[in-house]
């Protein structure tokens, strides 16, 4: 057996205090980075962009306030207050400028912001006018693509507003040779350049930017060493004084040099993790296979007797706390789509090594233990499963699942390794894969995956078939024939495919425009020097320096589209009970139902505000009247009765998620309408497009932009989540649902699929409950599903948490690709989680 871990390890009081410290205050926005960045940019105008980026990064690290929080063993904080954030105006700032006064009171992910910070940000923002990646990207997009975005067909908001992130850098290299070693690699590459080379100019600029960035990181750690020493001198508590002296010695050595102990390795890892995020605002900077690259340091210290398992566990717990100390403020709309302050730092344990042997070790178990100890959403803990995974390890993972934290997510080596091989990666690289962000597989520190580059709402093109591509009077999609002329199901399906293909091309256009903008305006030398083969290629990841390049936008709403196609096939083309025109009218009239109340409230607020702005008196009575006007359906009674019958007919039909071959086959075809057309496209970095099938939590806000659909889903309600069946429609239990979902083609969706199942804790009770749970995961994976995650909470618990959020501040749920604190989610997202079918097993 390759591990000694048994049972569990104790959680120390320090960890409890550190967790409490994280949640003592509200997250804040701090302005230091934005101010320093702007200062530097003003001094470097006219210089090559990659040099400007490195100089600005160095300027920030030299001057940004640093702090060591009480009880910390691992240091390095990007903000003065815990769980707070810096801002990144080089990507976008207009939304923040507009939301400065509302960001502290918004429903999803609020941040407090002081008047002083607001003033500081207001003073630097004007400089960025016309200089951001988002403005450049907009200028590059085709006009049709802008129209499609405007009509909510897809949203490329993630990289449009932010840095890209979504990368796993070479932590192991820094642990081994330190940034001095990385700098030496850049110097060696520079020495090989000849001034006469055709690419000399760019190569030279890039490698010098790498050298400057490496030096900046070393200097930053030295600041921490100095601070720790200073604090030690005035520390009265002897134990803490010794701790601070140790911290100072650690920061003297790493990350400038290679680590010589497990403790130094933890500190070195953390500086890399923190500073990659300081360089750009991208989320999903994923630590990847922490249990593998940290293991040599752990093993050496345990063997030499320098370290106990208990002490190692406390250090890992401390790293977990630091991962929760980082935060990110998104624009209000995106915050709903990524709700829960999530950073998506995906850390994965277990699975095979590069040679195909099981890689489970003590650290794999201790990573799970750490998540049990801190009980926080970060890291997004994942577990790799293959036929050779030890049962004990999966039982340990299931114990974590049973706590209801929504972690870990389970990934299937037997699907993901072939996916990477199919893209031409080597066997060794494919076996060494990890997960980025929510569910996106890649081989670590070799890949610029652009995972998560857009959300594509597969329900919207379906709506457009009924209007020949017209949305709100604007021709958004192609002019497919009016539905009266679609006389067979095949003709209808062809029209849907035409809508899809046209709009997918526009999404590719938008993504590629953003890609070019990042390459031109925001190359990232620090990130690049830790991704193969940027140093050898002499260019940053943003210009295609990585060995593997992909773009992975994700489609969602498969279950709704599948059910809708099935409904139309049966009711219109086989039973001939209704015509497509009947469905067009029903969808327009929302099946005679009142508007979704959350949506109606939102619209009421907007209308009331407009009216008030025009000088109308708006009291409670007026607001009620506006609400009624908006919410109440205006169909005649006879129409309503007709629509009610229609909904009953729809409800009677089979649905995806119940282990029924024909409907499931329809879902497979529905997914292909997204996955297949996408694979023909390439990106500006020389890579290919690959599809993901998951919505993060965007199925709720993007559902709120989607009219009624032929599957009986009402307007503005959430669309189905990931590849999961539509909420409440899978009624034959978890095995039936899993069999259905496994019938989708998970191999072609190589940017990841997401299957969310909610469990009542009683289903995992006792050892037998854990065994059966593991068997359920394995049974789904035997059928080549690629990912599975679980919410283990009772409906009652969630309802009570909604009513009394104060009692459930630490209630963690798995939202989509990640865990979040339930009470920090918006009401509508909370409702969506509650309404998902509860898969009881008792």
């Amino acid at each position: 057996m390759a591990w000694n871990f048994k049972g569990n390890l104790p959680k120390t009081d320090r960890i409890t205090r550190l967790v409490d410290g994280l949640f003592a205050g509200m997250p804040q926005i701090e302005a230091d980075r934005a101010v320093l960045l702007t200062e530097s940019y003003k001094q470097t105008e006219g210089e090559p962009i990659v040099a400007r980026r490195a100089k600005a990064f160095a300027h920030i690290l030299r001057h940004i306030p640093i702090t060591i929080r009480p009880d910390e063993l691992i240091v390095g904080s990007s903000t003065k207050q815990p769980r707070s954030c810096q801002t990144f105006p080089e990507f976008s700032y207009e939304w923040l400028e507009a939301e400065l006064d509302t960001v502290s009171t918004r429903s999803a992910d609020p941040f407090t912001i002081s008047e002083e910070t607001k003033a500081a940000l207001r003073s630097v923002h004007p400089y960025w006018k016309g200089k951001t990646t988002s403005e450049r990207a907009t200028a590059y997009m085709a006009p049709e693509a802008l129209v499609a975005i405007d009509h909510n067909i897809f949203t490329p908001g993630n990289y449009f507003y932010n840095g890209v992130g979504h990368v796993t850098v070479d932590y192991g290299k820094v642990l081994k040779i330190g940034f001095k070693g990385v700098r030496a690699e850049a110097e060696a590459a520079l020495a090989k350049c000849s001034v006469g080379d055709g690419d000399y100019v760019r190569r030279n600029q890039f490698l010098n930017a790498v050298i400057l960035s490496c030096d900046a990181v070393c200097e930053y750690a030295a600041r921490y060493a100095e601070l720790a020493r200073k604090m030690a001198q005035s520390e009265v508590n002897v134990t803490r004084r010794l701790e601070l002296e140790q911290i100072a010695r650690n920061c003297d050595r790493v990350p400038a040099n290679g680590a010589t102990s497990f403790y130094e390795a933890c500190q070195s890892f953390w500086f890399v993790q923190q500073l990659i995020q300081m360089e750009s605002s991208g989320h999903s900077i994923s630590p990847g296979r922490f249990d593998q690259y940290m293991f040599p340091y752990y093993e050496a210290d345990i063997k030499s007797g320098k370290l106990t398992m208990e002490a190692a566990q406390e250090l890992i717990d401390c790293v977990w706390i630091k991962l929760n100390d980082l935060n990110k403020c998104r624009d209000a709309a995106s915050a709903e789509g990524f709700a829960g302050y999530s950073m998506f730092q995906n850390l994965i344990c277990g699975g095979q090594d590069a040679n195909g042997l099981d890689a489970t070790n003590d650290l794999s178990f201790m990573c799970i233990e750490a998540s049990m100890h801190v009980h926080l959403p970060q890291p997004s803990l994942s577990v790799r499963v293959w036929n050779g995974s030890p049962h004990e390890f999966l039982i340990k993972a299931a114990e974590l699942t049973r706590t209801g934290i929504g972690l870990p997510a389970y990934y299937n080596d037997e699907v993901i390794i072939p996916q990477l091989l199919a893209h031409g990666e080597t066997m060794e690289e494919a076996r060494d894969y990890n997960i980025i962000g929510c569910v996106e597989p890649q081989s670590p520190h070799k890949t610029e995956g652009w995972h998560d580059s857009a959300f594509f709402n597969m329900c919207r093109p379906l709506e457009l078939v009924f209007t020949s591509g017209v949305d709100n009077g604007v021709q958004v999609g192609p002019q497919t024939p009016p539905v009266e002329y679609l006389t067979t199901f095949e003709e209808f399906f062809t029209a849907y495919k035409q809508q899809m293909e046209y709009l997918i091309a526009l999404m590719v256009n938008a993504d590629n425009a953003i890609d070019v903008a990042h390459a031109e305006l925001c190359p990232l030398p620090l990130e690049s020097c830790l991704v193969d083969d940027c140093i050898a290629n002499g260019k940053p990841v943003q210009e295609g320096g990585a060995r593997y390049n992909y773009t992975g936008p994700q489609g969602f709403g498969i279950a709704n589209v599948a059910d809708a196609l099935w409904v139309l096939k049966k009711l219109v083309f086989e039973q001939k009970k209704y015509t497509l025109a009947d469905f067009r009218d029903a969808m327009r009239d929302n099946y005679g139902k009142d508007m979704d109340s959350a949506m109606a409230q939102k619209l009421t607020a907007t209308v009331a505000k407009q009216a008030a702005a025009q000088g109308a008196t708006i009291g409670e009575a007026e607001i009620k009247a506006i609400y009624r006007e908006i919410a109440v359906n205006k169909c005649s009674e006879s129409q309503k009765i007709r629509y009610a019958t229609m909904l009953e007919e729809i409800a009677k039909l089979d649905k995806f998620g119940n282990d029924l071959h024909e409907v499931d086959a329809m879902a497979r075809e529905a997914a292909y309408t997204y996955t297949r057309p996408l694979t023909q496209y390439t990106n500006p970095r020389g890579g290919v497009y690959q599809a993901g099938l998951y919505p993060v939590s965007a199925n709720v806000p993007l559902g709120a932009q989607t009219g009624a659909t032929p599957d009986g889903r009402l307007a503005y309600t959430p669309v189905a989540d990931g590849v999961s069946p539509a909420a409440g429609r899978d009624v034959n239990g978890p095995t039936a649902a899993a069999n259905s979902v496994a019938r989708l083609d998970h191999f072609i969706a190589s940017n990841g699929t997401l299957y969310n199942m909610k469990f009542h804790p009683s289903a995992l009770k006792g050892r037998a409950g854990l065994d059966n749970f593991v068997s359920l995961v394995r049974g789904y994976f035997d059928q080549k599903g690629s990912h599975m995650q679980f919410n283990v909470v009772s409906r009652e618990t969630l309802l009570d948490a909604q009513a009394h959020p104060e009692n459930y501040k630490s209630l963690v749920v798995r939202v989509a690709g990640y865990s979040a604190l339930f009470t920090t989610l918006s009401k509508s997202l909370q409702d969506d989680i509650i309404n998902r079918t509860e898969q009881g097993g008792f």
Binding site: T735, N772, S775, L776, G779, D782, Q783, Q839, G841
Partner: protein, 261 residues
């Protein structure tokens, strides 16, 4: 006649059952039972006749006639999960021994497909029927509700002599037999009564495990839907403390007791 063509009457098939035999199982509920236990949580299972339940205005037909082939097709859908978990098919009811041809054919057909079998039974059947069924069952979950025959009869309408004889018969056949006791307040929830059952069970050859299943009232609505009175409406689920006390009583014998299935 082919085994797959044998007909029988069921009222439900429930997948992902994890408390009725090892692993992940599919339970087939057969209709008809000789006992009328007052606490029965599936009162719609008792009559062989197809019935209507009035679910507060919504009429639901309980019971349908099916072939072994149709049932096995449904059961096979989860075979991957059985293989991973050591699960399989469980016959429940009602009492499957009331439909011996159908039950035996289902069990044989499951075995022919390599599916593990279990049965939840009252064993209130003739020796001949028991001998036909048991060879095809990998795990027998058999109820012993009370040792006193009169009290047994008062609460279930049947005396227990035949049941106890069959318990011996099944045990002696070498089957993997687990004894289950529904713990019903006012009927058998004293230490003395449980001890009597446990002592009887520990005298059975091969028996190692006894499960104490705490009474619950989840079935009480169904009595109303069937237009029947629920005669146990005044009793409550036994407390955890009481169940643990009774568990200790079981563990004083050579048996391994557990609470719940």
């Amino acid at each position: 006649m082919q085994l797959t063509e044998v007909k029988g009457r069921i009222f439900d098939i429930q997948r992902f059952s994890v408390h009725d035999g090892p692993g992940i199982r599919t339970i087939v509920f057969l209709k008809g039972c000789r006992l009328r236990c007052r606490w029965c949580c599936n009162p719609e299972s008792q009559e062989y006749a197809i019935q209507e339940m009035n679910k507060d205005g919504k009429i639901e037909v309980v019971g349908r006639d099916v072939t072994v082939g149709e049932v096995i097709e449904e059961v096979l859908k989860d075979r991957i999960f059985y293989a991973r978990s050591g699960g399989g098919l469980t016959l429940s009811g009602g009492e499957s021994m009331c439909q011996p041809d159908f039950a035996a054919a289902l069990l044989q057909e499951a075995h022919a497909h390599g599916i593990n079998t279990a049965i939840e039974t009252t064993a209130c059947a003739s020796a001949e029927v028991v001998d036909r069924i048991i060879p095809h069952v990998d795990t027998v979950l058999m109820d012993i509700k009370h040792i006193n025959s009169e009290k047994h009869k008062a609460f279930t309408t049947q005396p227990n002599e035949l049941i106890l004889q069959n318990a011996k018969r099944i045990a002696d056949s070498g089957a993997n037999l687990i004894i289950r006791v529904p713990v019903v307040p006012g009927f058998n929830d004293t230490e003395q009564e449980i001890r009597a059952i446990a002592e009887f069970a520990s005298g059975l050859r091969n028996v190692k495990h006894l499960h104490l299943l705490p009474y619950h009232a989840f079935g009480s609505d169904k009595y109303r839907w069937l237009g029947r009175d629920y005669t146990l409406s005044d009793i409550k689920t036994p407390s955890d403390e009481q169940m643990h006390r009774l568990l200790e009583v079981v563990n004083e014998t050579r048996l391994y007791g557990q609470i719940g299935g």
